[in-house]
Symmetry: C2
Subunit: 146 residues, 2 copies
DNA sequence: TTCGTTTCCTACTATTGTAGTAGGATTGTT
DNA sequence: AACAATCCTACTACAATAGTAGGAAACGAA
């Protein structure tokens, strides 16, 4: 029941792009060093975000990445589903592909459904913009405390 | 983000023991055939439940297993935590063993905390007795529909 | 046009976790 | 003594995780 680094890093990449969005595009190298993640590994993760159209890439020198939408248009759920796959806690709840033959008399299925709903409820109600706001508030408080 | 068979089977074992509790003890073989799970694999899973004192074993011929408490005293959460380990969606939230050094400025940690709470909320509020009740209700409805 | 910077693409690897299988020792009943 | 059950340990096949690695392609600037 763990979220893998792939999903977690993807969220942090999107957060980083939103936080440091100054009009210019941002290089993998910068994100990697700010977030303390391997460049090569980040490349792979950001490639997924790119293919899905969540970010736009510009190749060559002075290239990099940029968000394609406003930070409030990305939920954590979207990003996790993209990078992790389904967030369903059991396979039976994934696209009814291999629906178990006991599903009609399976009491536990109800529990997994509730769990699934609860998970979605959380991750679909936090946006990247929320994370940015939270960070900025924190920085403000630091200013005051000096 | 999947619950493994170990955890899911463990819940079904407990459910099965509660549902077929007639005073006599229940053999792994019976549970395995009713639940469609490999006997040998079930042995290992039930051994964990046994060590934790969730069930009591009786060895030798006519032996088997029995719940040690009332079905309403077992939550699904207890059973999952025992067999799966922590239900925290990220390691940072496990026993602060290897707390990440970014934790004090990590915006995503807040999300994972909320997720963790939501997960616990669900699994700690369903007991084995609930599952049994649900099954019995279903059987009643079947009777009426005949 | 050439150099350096950056993304892009594919392959590889080491480690761990999952989902069992297997075989026999031990314990108790008949 | 035979049998039926739990108990215990080891083994295995497969997939996922978490990266590393190397170079090709694209682009900007000199």
């Amino acid at each position: 029941m763990k979220i893998s680094t792939k999903g977690r890093y993807a969220v942090r990449v999107m957060f980083d792009l939103a936080l440091h969005n100054s009009g210019e595009c941002i290089k993998v190298k910068e994100i990697a060093s700010r977030q303390g993640i391997s460049e090569k590994y980040l490349e792979q993760i950001i490639a997924v975000l790119n293919k899905a159209g969540y970010v736009r890439s510009i190749r060559g020198a002075q290239g990099g990445y940029r968000l394609t939408r406003d930070p409030e248009d990305y939920t954590v759920g979207m990003i996790l589903r993209l990078t992790e796959g389904s967030l369903a806690p059991v396979a039976c709840l994934d696209g009814n592909a291999d629906e178990c033959d006991r599903s009609d008399t399976c009491e536990t299925l109800e529990v997994w459904k509730n769990l699934y709903d609860a998970i979605n409820q959380v991750v679909d109600n936090v946006t990247i913009a929320d994370l940015v706001t939270s960070r900025k508030k924190r920085l403000e408080n630091l200013d005051y405390s000096i």
